[in-house]
């Protein structure tokens, strides 16, 4: 057993007054049930006011009450020495285990933790282990935890997490009682009034008082009987340095008693979790962050999980630091913006960074040549066109996403780019119109992955006011691209931004497309563009002939339109062929030339364009290839 716990320091020889009543009450509670009430108990006072006596008494009383209890008293310097020895001999684990088996750990002179980082981290681990298993820690220091310089913030929080009590200067009565106790202990006796006179003298600590008593005792031992009147001169003569009296002249006992009672009331009513939370708030405020998030928790009536709140706040701060660094690289003027100072604003800070990125490198836009004005409308694309017009009129509100599908050359690309151009002209749009083909999306992502600039690449699209992805089927089987599109889609869709997609087939037929994307695509409007009908074909041929063969004979366009084609590309190739033949023949584009071109075998009319009186049968779209079955016909009739 440590010397301190040998029974010299006990509660019954510790004089209790207003100045130490709270500390003693807390100490007794701890000794009676270690780990149950105030853990850790932190006692502080100026030097010589009885801290060491009190923690010795706590240890002794606890041991008396529960002899099997492992009680360890260690001044901090000894702790540091032992730690150094353990490190140099490679027995750090044994050192830790030694302390972790202790039921009541009493640490004195905790103020010497200042600047000892390794000791602090070791102590933090031991504290965590002890507190985690309900063991008691009692500490004594000459100042409160917050005033111990250069100590790890986490350790300060631990130190302050239980109860902090201070011991003030003893008042007159307590001083008299202490002096009388000392006399009994040392079998000294003085004339009446001597001790009282000594107690009336200003003194800075009990040690000083004890020193003065020793001086009187020495005079008595010389056979000199002291009178109360001599006390001051003897004691004053013994004082080598002027005492830094902490006693307040004429300090009122009544006021001291009041303060002591207030201390008890505060200790009873201040909840330790609020104290811990307050410390964290102060810490983050000092670091320049807005702590509204944490302050809200202070007003809760139920105990909040301070550690979890603080961890969440720290995560937010770390993210903000990252974002601010990124933003400053893009635009130094963004440094110190308010959004980077409030972990509640992480989303806003992210948006800010994305805006900065987008401003530097905007996403690809729609091709200006494709506009709605140059799009020829017809029966085959009218549904898609109306949907597109609705999307332009109210972006994100009606058909979101708008999924347009159809075979090659039916005008999907034209249509989606035209939607993009129309949206771009809308003032209400919150960002640029991103218009990208599926394959371009994949290629860009690969380059970004290579260069390690995925965040930046992603941010370009996140700021878009609308997103258009042409040939989205190019993402089939590209898992990472699909994942990126999925997140991008969610971000834009949830922000009410219009998404338009185009593919050569409906979502359900795109193989190797993740179900989460497919269901999202299906969730808007999926609309098909059919191969151009006869009227549309005629309009297409007329426009092309007007451009390339203005002198073409009347009726050529109508004749060419008789031939079904899959899309605009095929129309163009037919015109190419006709133009080529016309140039070879050295003449203009005539009906006969066209007939010959369409029917190279020499027959009067092309096989696919039979000479039938009723031309309506020439249009494949009007030929019913599969008659509906009986059930289908009944439904049709009912309609």
């Amino acid at each position: 057993m440590s010397v301190l716990l040998d029974g010299r320091f006990r509660f019954d020889n510790y004089v209790v007054g207003a100045s130490n009543r709270l500390a003693v009450a807390a100490g007794r509670a701890v000794a009676e049930s270690p780990g149950a009430s105030y853990n850790p108990l932190f006692i502080y006072s100026a030097s010589g006011l009885g801290k060491t006596h009190l923690i010795g008494a706590i240890g002794f009383a606890a041991k008396q009450l529960q002899p099997e209890l492992v009680v360890e008293y260690v001044p901090l310097d000894d702790f540091v020495d032992r730690l150094h020895i353990a490190i140099s001999s490679g027995h750090v684990e044994a050192f830790k285990q030694l302390y972790q088996r202790v039921d009541l750990l009493l640490i004195d002179d905790v103020q010497f933790l200042t600047g000892r980082r390794e000791t602090q981290s070791e102590m933090l681990r031991i504290f965590n282990a002890l507190q985690g298993s309900g063991r008691q820690i009692v500490m004594a220091s000459d100042r409160p935890p917050a005033e111990i310089d250069d100590v790890d913030e986490r350790l300060v929080t631990r130190l302050a997490g239980g109860l902090i009590v201070d011991i003030g200067l003893p008042e007159y009565e307590t001083r008299v009682a202490i002096l009388r106790n000392k006399c009994v202990e040392r079998e000294l006796s003085f004339a009446d009034g001597v001790l009282e006179e000594l107690a009336r003298m200003p003194c800075g600590s009990i040690r000083e008082l004890q020193g003065a008593l020793n001086r009187l005792a020495a005079h008595e031992a010389l056979g000199e009987r002291l009178a109360a009147a001599n006390v001051r001169s003897i004691v004053a003569a013994g004082r080598v340095t002027p005492t830094q009296s902490r006693i307040i002249p004429n300090a009122s006992d009544e006021f001291a008693g009041f303060v002591s009672d207030i201390a008890v009331a505060v200790a009873q009513h201040v909840e330790s979790w609020r104290v811990r939370l307050g410390e964290r708030i102060a810490h983050w405020q000092a670091a320049g962050y807005r702590t509204t998030m944490l302050e809200r928790a202070l007003s809760l009536t139920e105990e909040a999980d301070v550690e979890a709140l603080d961890a969440a706040f720290a995560t937010g701060v770390a993210r903000l630091e990252q974002l601010e660094a990124q933003a400053v690289l893009l635009d130094p003027r963004l440094a110190g913006l308010d959004v980077f100072r409030d972990p509640q604003c992480v989303a806003e800070a992210e948006a800010r960074v994305e805006q900065a990125i987008a401003a530097q490198d905007p996403p690809p836009g729609p091709w200006p040549a494709f506009t709605l004005e140059t799009l020829i409308a017809g029966k085959s694309n009218q549904l898609a066109l109306r949907a597109a017009e609705a999307a332009i009129e109210a972006p994100g509100a009606r058909y979101n996403p708008l999924f347009v599908h159809g075979g090659p050359g039916v005008g999907k690309t034209h249509m989606v780019h035209a939607v993009g151009n129309a949206l771009r002209r809308k003032a209400a749009l919150s960002g640029p119109v991103a218009c990208v083909s599926g394959s371009q999306f994949v290629d860009e992502l690969i380059v970004a992955l290579q260069e390690g600039t995925v965040d930046k690449w992603r941010a370009r699209y996140r700021t878009a006011g609308a997103l258009i992805v042409d040939d989205v089927h190019a993402l089939a089987g590209k898992e990472r691209s699909q994942e990126e599109l999925f997140h991008l889609f969610n971000a834009l869709h949830s922000a009410g931004k219009q998404v338009v997609l185009a593919s050569d087939r409906p979502p359900s037929e795109i193989g190797e497309l993740e179900a989460r994307l497919r269901s999202r695509f299906d969730g808007g409007l999926v609309v098909a563009i059919q191969p151009p009908d006869r009227a549309l074909r005629e309009a297409l041929y007329s426009r092309m002939l007007l451009d390339r063969a203005p002198g073409a004979e009347q009726g050529v366009a109508a004749l060419l339109a008789e031939l079904p084609v899959s899309g605009a590309a095929e129309v163009e190739s037919v015109i190419d062929r006709v133009m080529h033949s016309a140039r070879a023949a050295g003449g203009a584009v005539t009906l006969s030339l066209v007939r010959r071109e369409l029917n190279p075998g020499g027959a009067a009319t092309p096989a696919s364009v039979p000479a039938i009186a009723d031309k309506s049968f020439l249009d494949l779209e009007k030929v019913v290839m599969d008659w509906p079955d009986l059930e289908g016909r009944v439904i049709e009739e009912l309609r």
Binding site: I248, F255, H269, A282
Partner: protein, 205 residues
């Protein structure tokens, strides 16, 4: 002003001494002022008329030093007791964390006591405060006067303490009951630290 600021580690309590004119509110503050060590008290601000009646209010800031790591400050105010200073009373009452009602035990002052107590309740109600939620302690002052001049504590309590709040007999000039009263109200106020839902007398706090 807030009672406890966990971030700044400060506890600030505003306690208002209320009561009829000449009941001894300022005497309470003077006694406390005299007992407080010099480094713990701020200068007492007292705006009084030539006849020594409180014209506006007295203000005594007390620094209790660090308590459980909190810098603890008490601000003690008195209101002018005279009926015609109603506006000042309302102003001083704003933001109070607790109220000490100093009653004059003199037999002839009973009506003034009752009237002042009603005035306190009216002022609290005017500020939208439920008087039942405000910490209140009553001090029956001047109990040192000859028996024939005063009412005893029980009689006064029957007349004034219909809410059954803590009360103390006092002799503010000599200090009897002064610190007991202050201790009593302080404990009631500090109890609110652990029940943050209780409203204060503050407007917009």
């Amino acid at each position: 002003m807030s009672l406890v600021n966990y971030a700044a580690r400060e506890i600030t309590c505003k306690i208002v001494y209320y009561g009829p004119g000449r009941s001894g509110k300022t005497s309470n503050l003077h006694y406390i002022y005299d007992q407080v060590p010099g480094d713990r008290r701020g200068s007492m601000v007292s705006l009084a008329t030539q006849t020594d009646r409180t014209l506006f209010f007295d203000f005594l800031p007390l620094d209790l030093g660090p308590i459980s790591g909190f810098t603890t400050r008490f601000q003690l105010y008195t209101v002018p007791g005279q009926v015609y200073y109603a506006t000042t009373r309302k102003l001083v009452l704003q933001g109070a964390d607790g109220v000490v009602f100093v009653a004059d035990s003199q037999r002839r002052q009973i009506d003034e006591n009752v009237e002042s107590m009603q005035d306190l309740h009216a002022n609290l109600a005017e500020q939208g405060i439920d008087a039942r939620n405000v910490p209140l302690v009553i001090q029956y002052n001047k109990q040192d006067l000859p028996r024939e001049l005063i009412l005893d504590v029980d009689t006064l309590d029957d007349a004034l303490n219909f809410r059954g709040v803590p009360y103390h007999a006092g002799d503010a000039l000599r200090g009897t009951g002064v610190f007991e009263t202050l201790r009593s109200i302080s404990e009631l106020v500090l109890r609110r630290l652990s029940s943050t839902t209780a409203p204060s007398v503050a407007v917009g706090r």
